[in-house]
C-alpha cells in the first residue's frame, strides 16, 4: 500500500513539468525550440537507412539528417535533438499535439494529410514508389505476369490499397499474405510463404541487401505508386515551416552548387558565385529573414553535408542498402530535385 506514493511522485512531477512546459508556450515553435535548447524530432521506430540508433544510441539515417540539419541551423548544435520514435498510428497526433516540432519519418505527402489533417509538408527528401520483389527462380520479368501470385503485404498501409488497385486495373487476381512488420515479411518471403513481396522500392532494396544471396532475387521494374516522402510541420506556424523548408532546400541547393561539408568553411569566406554567397550568408541577409542568423545554412551543411553526401552515407550505392539516385538526382542530372533559388 505504501508504494502508492510512487504514483504520487510521478503524477506530481509530471504535472509540474506539464505546467512548466505550458508557460514556455509563446513566441511560436522557433521560440519554444530555442528556449528548450533542443529540437523534438519525430522519427520512425526503425527503418533501415532512414532512421536507427547505433550501438552507442546515436541516431543515424537519412531522415535523421534532416532533424540534425534543422537543429544545427536553429540551435548551432546538430546533437541538440530529442528523437521521438513514432509509429504509423501515433506520428500525426504527436505532431498535432505539439509533442514533436518536426516529423521526419518517411511520410508520404498526400492531399488529405496536407489539407484535412492540417499539416504542412515542407518539401520532399525522397521520391519513393511501391515495387515488387520476386525470387529469380520464378522467372518473372514484369509485374504484369504476376496473375494468381501470393503476395506478402504489410497490413493497414497505403501499399495494401495500391496493390489492390494495381491488380484489379490489370484484371489480375492475387492472394494476400498479411504481415505486420518488415522483419516478419522478410521471414515469410524467405520461407516461401509468398511468391512476391511488395513495399516501397527503397524498403525492397534494403531488404534484398540483407539476404544471404541477394542475386537470387530481383526487384521488378514496375513502380505502381507515387510516394513522395518528406518532412512536415504543423499548420499555422509559417515561420517555423519556412525554417524547415529552407533548411531542406539549402541541403539540396548545396549539392547543386557544389558546396560540401568539406569545403563549406572555405567557401564561406566568399566566392565568385553570388548564389553560394547568399546561401552561406556572406552576401545578403537571408538568415535574418528566417529569424536566424546568416550562418544558418552553413551550419546545416557542415553538420550533415549536402543532400548528396547524406544520401551516399546513409542509403547510396556505396552503403549497405545500395540505392541509386534515380528520381532523387538533381534536376541537372535528370532527377526531380529542384531547389528554388536563394535570393
Amino acid at each position: 500500500m505504501k508504494k502508492s506514493v510512487f504514483l504520487g511522485t510521478l503524477a506530481v512531477t509530471g504535472l509540474a513539468a506539464g505546467f512548466a512546459a505550458a508557460d514556455a508556450h509563446s513566441g511560436g515553435t522557433l521560440g519554444e525550440v530555442q528556449a528548450r535548447g533542443a529540437l523534438n524530432c519525430g522519427v520512425t521506430t526503425g527503418l533501415v537507412g532512414f532512421a536507427a540508433p547505433d550501438a552507442n544510441g546515436e541516431w543515424q539515417g537519412f531522415d535523421v539528417d534532416v532533424c540534425r540539419a534543422v537543429a544545427a541551423a536553429v540551435l548551432d548544435d546538430p546533437s541538440a535533438v530529442n528523437f521521438v520514435p513514432t509509429t504509423g498510428q501515433t506520428r500525426f497526433t504527436a505532431l498535432a499535439s505539439g509533442e514533436i516540432d518536426l516529423l521526419a519519418r518517411n511520410t508520404t505527402w498526400t492531399f488529405s494529410r496536407d489539407v484535412d489533417l492540417r499539416f504542412e509538408f515542407v518539401g520532399i527528401n525522397y521520391y519513393d514508389g511501391q515495387g515488387f520483389m520476386v525470387p529469380r527462380d520464378l522467372g518473372v520479368a514484369s509485374a504484369l505476369e504476376l496473375d494468381g501470385a501470393t503476395v506478402c503485404i504489410q497490413t493497414g498501409t497505403t501499399t495494401e490499397l495500391n496493390l489492390a488497385d494495381f491488380f484489379s486495373s490489370n484484371n489480375m487476381s492475387y492472394e494476400p499474405v498479411p504481415v505486420e512488420t518488415n522483419a516478419e515479411a522478410q521471414q515469410q518471403y524467405l520461407a516461401g510463404a509468398c511468391d512476391v513481396y511488395t513495399t516501397d522500392a527503397s524498403g525492397l532494396a534494403a531488404t534484398r541487401a540483407t539476404f544471404e544471396d541477394p542475386a537470387a532475387h530481383v526487384v521488378l521494374p514496375e513502380i505502381i505508386s507515387k510516394e513522395p516522402l518528406g518532412p512536415l510541420v504543423r499548420h499555422g506556424d509559417n515561420e517555423w515551416g519556412d525554417i524547415a523548408r529552407w533548411t531542406l532546400n539549402a541541403l539540396i541547393a548545396a549539392e547543386e552548387l557544389g558546396v560540401t561539408s568539406a569545403n563549406v568553411a572555405e567557401l564561406a569566406g566568399g566566392t565568385e558565385n553570388p548564389e553560394i554567397n547568399r546561401l552561406l550568408g556572406t552576401e545578403g541577409a537571408l538568415g535574418e529573414m528566417l529569424g536566424l542568423d546568416n550562418d544558418w545554412a552553413q551550419r546545416a551543411i557542415a553538420a550533415v553535408g549536402n543532400y548528396g553526401e547524406s544520401f551516399e552515407r546513409n542509403i547510396g550505392e556505396n552503403s549497405a542498402i545500395g540505392l541509386s539516385r534515380g528520381l532523387n538526382a538533381q534536376w541537372t542530372d535528370g532527377g526531380l530535385l529542384y531547389a528554388p533559388p536563394f535570393r
Binding site: M1, F6, T13, L15, G46, P53, G57, A94
Partner: protein, 441 residues
C-alpha cells in the same frame, strides 16, 4: 494324498539351516529399467506414444540445437557473422548469430540510458529486492519496512535523477497526510480528519511542491544527473511499467473489489462501472487512449510524459482485473465468516482487515499472480505507442544496416529475460500457497 506328503517329509535329506543372503531384484524389476517399463512402456499404445514423442523431441533438438550451440558470438554485423560461419562450417549450414546480443545487449536491457549511469538502475533493482523482502517473506527482519516505505522515492530519484528535493518534497505530502490523520482526529472527528488527510496533501502537491522543491534546491543544490523518460527503454522500461503497475494495482484492486461488494449505492455503482468499462476494452485501446486521445484533452503545449500516461493506464487496467480476482475470493468465503466478524463487534475495516481479506486473498493468490504475470508480459504492447520496450528495441536494432535481417536471436533473448521474471513470480506464488495451505479449504 496325506501319505505321500508325510513320506516325502521323512525322506528329506537336506534342510536349509541358514538364510539366503539378500539379493538385488532382477534387472528388469529395478532402477531405470523398471521406471521405464512402468512409465514409458507400460502398454503398447504407451510405448508407441513414447517412441513418437522421443522422435519429435529429437527432431526439434536436432534442428535447433546445432543452430543455437554453433552460434557465432563475436562479429560486428550480420554480414561478418555469415563470413565467419562460412569459414567455420562451410557454406550451407545455418547457425545463430548471437553477436547481435553481445553488440546490443545493453540497449535491450537499458534502452538509451547513459552507459556510465547503469549503476543507477542496477542499484534500484537491488534496493527493490531489499524493499520487497519484508512484504514477501514474513521472516525477513521487520526494520526493512522502512526501506520499503522510502523505496518509491529513492527509486524515482535514482532512475530519473535531478534534484533530490523533488521526490523529498513529494514524500513530505505523505507525512503530512499521516500527521493529520493521527493528530487531528480528536479535534476534528474521524470523517473530517480523513477528508483533511486527503485534501491538504493534494493541495500541497498541486501548489506547493514545485516552489518548495525549487527553494530547497536553491538553498542546497544536491542532485544527480537527470535522465529523461525517453532515455529509459528496453527491459528497464518493461520493469518500471510492469513493476509500478503490479505494486499499485493490488491495493487499488482490493479497494475496488470491496467497493463492488459495498452496500453504499454510489461507491458500489462507481466500482462496477469502473471495473466493467476498463475490463471491457482491450489494453491496446487504453494505450492508444493514453498516447493519442489524452493529447487532445490536455491543454495545448502540455507535455504530460508519455511513459507516465502509459503507467497510469496499465495500472488502472490491472486494477480492474485484480478487483474481479479478489471479488472471487471474497465470494468464496462462507457467509458465516462475515457474520462471525460482525458478532465480535468489529467495525467494517477491522472485520475486513482481520477476518475477511486474509482468507479471501489466500484463495485468490493463483489468480492474482497470473494477472501479474499477464500484466508484465502485456507491457510489450507499449511498442505500438512508440515506446522502446525490448520488442521496440528489437525493431530499432533490426533497422540498422549492420543487423538488418536478424530475427530469432533477438526474440529468443527477450523471451529468456521475460521467462526468468515470470517463472520466479510463478514459483513464489506456489511457495506462498504451500506455506499458507493450513489444511483448511
Amino acid at each position: 494324498m496325506s501319505d505321500t506328503h508325510s513320506e516325502s517329509a521323512l525322506h528329506t535329506a537336506y534342510v536349509r539351516k541358514e538364510m539366503l543372503p539378500e539379493r538385488d531384484p532382477p534387472a528388469s524389476q529395478k532402477g531405470a529399467v523398471l521406471w521405464m517399463r512402468e512409465n514409458l512402456f507400460s502398454s503398447i499404445p504407451n510405448a508407441i506414444m513414447t517412441v513418437v514423442s522421443l522422435y519429435v523431441i529429437y527432431y526439434i533438438l536436432a534442428g535447433i540445437g546445432p543452430w543455437m550451440i554453433g552460434g557465432i558470438w563475436d562479429a560486428e554485423s550480420l554480414t561478418e557473422c555469415r563470413a565467419i560461419r562460412d569459414e567455420l562450417y562451410g557454406h550451407g549450414r545455418e547457425v545463430a548469430c548471437w553477436a547481435v546480443i553481445t553488440d546490443r545487449w545493453h540497449q535491450l536491457l537499458f534502452g538509451f540510458y547513459p552507459q556510465d549511469l547503469y549503476w543507477r538502475p542496477i542499484l534500484t533493482l537491488a534496493l527493490f529486492g531489499v524493499a520487497v523482502a519484508p512484504v514477501l517473506f514474513e521472516n525477513a527482519p521487520r526494520p526493512l519496512l522502512i526501506v520499503t516505505a522510502i523505496f518509491p522515492f529513492v527509486a524515482y530519484f535514482l532512475l530519473w535523477g535531478g534534484s533530490v528535493w523533488g521526490p523529498a518534497a513529494v514524500a513530505v505530502g505523505f507525512i503530512l497526510a499521516w500527521a493529520i490523520l493521527t493528530y487531528t482526529q480528536d479535534i476534528l472527528g474521524s470523517l473530517a480528519a480523513t477528508l483533511a488527510a486527503i485534501v491538504v496533501p493534494l493541495l500541497y502537491w498541486l501548489y506547493l511542491v514545485g516552489p518548495v522543491a525549487g527553494w530547497l534546491h536553491g538553498l542546497a543544490p544536491i542532485g544527480i544527473e537527470a535522465v529523461g523518460s525517453d532515455e529509459i527503454g528496453g527491459f528497464l522500461l518493461a520493469l518500471v511499467i510492469g513493476g509500478t503497475g503490479i505494486i499499485l494495482s493490488l491495493p487499488i484492486g482490493i479497494l475496488l473489489a470491496l467497493g463492488r461488494q459495498s452496500d453504499l449505492f454510489i461507491i458500489n455503482k462507481c466500482s462496477v462501472i469502473f471495473i466493467e468499462v476498463i475490463r471491457g476494452v482491450p489494453l491496446i485501446v487504453w494505450l492508444f487512449t493514453a498516447s493519442l486521445l489524452l493529447n487532445y484533452f490536455l491543454p495545448p503545449g502540455t507535455n504530460f510524459d508519455l511513459m507516465l500516461r502509459v503507467i497510469i493506464m496499465v495500472t488502472l487496467f490491472a486494477s480492474a482485473y485484480i478487483a474481479e480476482v479478489v471479488r472471487g475470493g471474497l465470494a468464496a468465503l462462507p457467509r458465516g465468516q462475515y457474520e462471525g466478524a460482525d458478532s465480535l463487534g468489529l467495525n467494517y475495516w477491522q472485520s475486513m482487515q482481520l477476518i475477511v481479506l486474509p482468507q479471501a486473498l489466500k484463495i485468490s493468490i493463483p489468480g492474482i499472480v497470473s494477472t501479474f504475470i499477464g500484466l508484465f508480459k502485456d507491457t510489450t504492447l507499449v511498442v505500438f505507442v512508440g515506446l522502446s520496450d525490448p520488442i521496440g528495441f528489437s525493431n530499432l536494432i533490426r533497422a540498422t544496416s549492420e543487423w538488418n535481417g536478424i530475427y530469432w536471436e533477438l526474440f529468443i533473448f527477450i523471451g529468456i529475460c521475460f521467462w526468468i521474471f515470470c517463472f520466479s513470480m510463478s514459483r513464489y506464488s506456489q511457495w506462498l500457497e504451500r506455506k499458507l495451505n493450513t489444511g483448511h479449504r
